[in-house]
Structures are given as structure tokens and as C-alpha cells.
Amino acid sequence: PPPMECIFGLVGDGFTLLVADASARRSVFLYKQDEDKIFPIDEHKAMAVTGEPGDTTLFAELIQKNLALCTLRVGVPRSPHATAHFTRAIMAENLRRSPYFVNLLLAGHDKDEGPSLYYLDYLASLQKLNFAAHGYGAFFILSLFDRYYRPGMSLPEAIKLANLCIAQLRLRFVISTPAFTAKVVDTDGVRMVDLKNEGVRMVDLKNEEEMVVVEE
């Protein structure tokens, strides 16, 4: 399936932010605008998935349940590093049998590691990054991150940057993706974040003055 869906994430000061577009679409049809693509894996981990429709939910739930089993067997949860590599191992194992066509971003928070973001694509290539994106939207988002991302951003700053990316997609990306969901992973766990109301104003593209979005 073409990568029209877009997910991105970034690591901030003691948290990781994951943002995913909220549309469920197949070919020319838009089924719903409130799909939550960010799955909580654990108390301190979340995974945003895109790709083949059935595979995404299946894979995310497979990782969720396997990790819960691990935690019950061992008594302590796996670190984000271990989780990311475990996920990659499952994907790599199935790559040359019956591959999971899933692109994902795994966000975690650990007492020792701090906040982390892992990029994993459908060919099972894993990278630990400060910011990452999947889908066509990545072309726009990565450029903006390259320009405006700084390590150790606060949550309001990160949300402002996320809103900037969304505004840019609305302006320049041919596929309309008006709705996005966001989740943040930090010491308190995984929680939903309202991109509009975290003290940040959404860019109003109907207002001509705001059409040129430049942050300095």
C-alpha cells in the first residue's frame, strides 16, 4: 500500500512525542478520521504503526502481548532498547517467509536510558534516532526537523514543532490529512496529548497572513 499515512516522532527533555495521522483510508476511500495508530506497548512504551492495514494491528498487538508475557515471566519490564531489538527480530525472522508490511516508530522511557525513539521499517532496519518519520510526509517533516529540532526541547516546544510539521503537510502535501493524534511517553507513562490545546495555537491556514509559517 502506498505510504500516504504519516507518522513521526521526536525525543525531548525527558519525554518522547509520537504523532500519527488519524485517517483510515483504502484507495480513494476515507473510512474514518479518528483512527488511533499509536498503541501503548507497556507502561512506558508506545508504538506508532503504518503500513498494510491488517498487518499493522496484528503486529502491534503481537508485540504488546509478547512483552506482557516477558514481563510476567521475568518480573521486570524489558528496556526500550531490548523491546526495539525484539521487535526487529520478529520482523527480520518473518522477512524471508511472510513479511509484515509494517513501518513503525517505537517510543520508550527508561530510568537508565532516558527517553528514546526507535525507527523500524518493513525491511527490519532498526535505528535509534532523535527524530524520525514514515510515509511521504517524511519528505516534508524531516526537512523541518533538520532545521528546527534541538536536543532537549520542552513539551510545549515539541508540540509547536509538531504543529509546524502538520501545517506544512496541509500546505504542501497532495493528500489531505486534517486530523492527527499524539501521545507522549515519559516517567508518568503513556498519555494522549491534545496538539491544539497544549498552550500552542494551531496555524490557521485560512488566514492569509499565517500562510507563510516561519519560526525563528
Binding site: L62, N66, A68, L72
Partner: protein
Amino acid sequence: LKEQVYIQMSYDTAITVFAPNGHLFQVDYAFEAVKRGACTIGIKTNDSIILAVEKKAIGKLQDPRANTKIFQLDEHISMSCAGLTADARVLANIARLECQYYRFNYEEAPSVTYIAKNIAKIKQKYTQRGGVRPFGLSCLIIGFDQNGEPNLYLTEPSGSYSLWKANALGKNAKTVQEFLEKHVKDQITHEEGIKLAVQALLEVVESGSNKVEIAYMKKGETLSYLSEEKIDTLISEIESAQQAKQENIDKMAQLST
């Protein structure tokens, strides 16, 4: 040419077979293994279920952390076993896998009934398969069902399961069972239940917080353990109450003579 006979080794030699009197001796012997296990008690109260386990004596150099007989199977289901502890690990592992398998298929939590029946099913399978022996375990499985009701299940090496208000397994289980039958009422609060569990265990176990492990599950919460300090406090309370009672009895005996 000399004829050669090849003997194939396969897993079809049955170990558990019927005896003339209708008994399955291997299952009976499994029950014997259970009777030699550490004492395990389960009590169901109005809003919680309590598991109390005897901690067998460990060597001076041994670290007691790995010495647990209470297994958490899922967020809302736990189990404790009496009998062969190595078998308990295997069974707990199978049950944990089954919990996650259920969650994967149905995206909801399995009820304690489902898991208890599943464990019983596995135990029965091992009494009717070639090349294996039954599990030498009786298990107390605690959890809450769909309605939020606390449930205490007992599964036996034969593969039978039953629901209980309170029960005891292992060494000296009969003594504890008699105690429980006398003292466990229809309606008991969580605190009363904890006290009863400690009292019941003290009937057959040496006193001291390092000899006793108490865990409980309240509705909507995961398994919690009672701290050693709390256990020590309870034990001293119970012992002083018993001492006072004994002194009273002695006094009455003196007065009557």
C-alpha cells in the same frame, strides 16, 4: 542374512494406566507429592482473595528472593501451588502464555474461570498422554471474574477443578482445613481474612515473618504482597491474643479447682 529387528522408541508407552480397582496410580501418587508440599492457603473475602504460603527453611547462604511459590499469571490472576515446585514453574509458564494468547485473540482480559479450566485441562491431558507423568501439583488460582466477583479455584493433579471459599493444600492441610471450616464465615472483610490466613498458617508453621509469605488481590488491582513488618506485627498480635486466652483458661481452671 541375519534378520535384524529394529525397535522404534516412540512416545506411546502409557505411564498412567488404570488399576483393577479403577484407580490411576500415577495420579494417586501425584496427590501424595502434593501432600508433601509446603502448606498453601487461600481465603476469599468480601472484596479480595488472599494467598498465604509457607516458606520452607532455606540455607544460611541462600538468597530468599528466588524462593517464591506465588506466581502472577496476568494482571488480575495469580496462582500458588503445593507439590513439586519445578512443575509449578512449567505450569505457570503455560498459564501465562495462555493468558496472553487469549488477550491476543480477543483483546480483552481472560476471566479467572477460563484460566483455571485451562490449567485443569492441561493437567488432565498429562494423565492421558503417552510418555509423560502427571503434574505433581495442586493449584490455588485467584482472580476476579467478569462480574467483579472474587474467585478461588482449586485444580488437582487429576485435572479436576472446584470453586472454594477457603482451602488449604500441602503438609498438614487437614489441620488447616479444620481451622478454616471453623473460622471462615460467609461475610469476612479483607483485614479479617488476612488475620485468619496468618492464624491458619501459624497452626502448622513456625512463627516468624521469614517463614510466611502473604499476597492478596483486590478488585481492579494487581497482586500485592504483605510486607515483612506487617506480618511480624500480625504474628505478635495473634500470639499475644493467644497467650491472653491461654492465661484466661488457666485462671478459670485454677478457680474451678
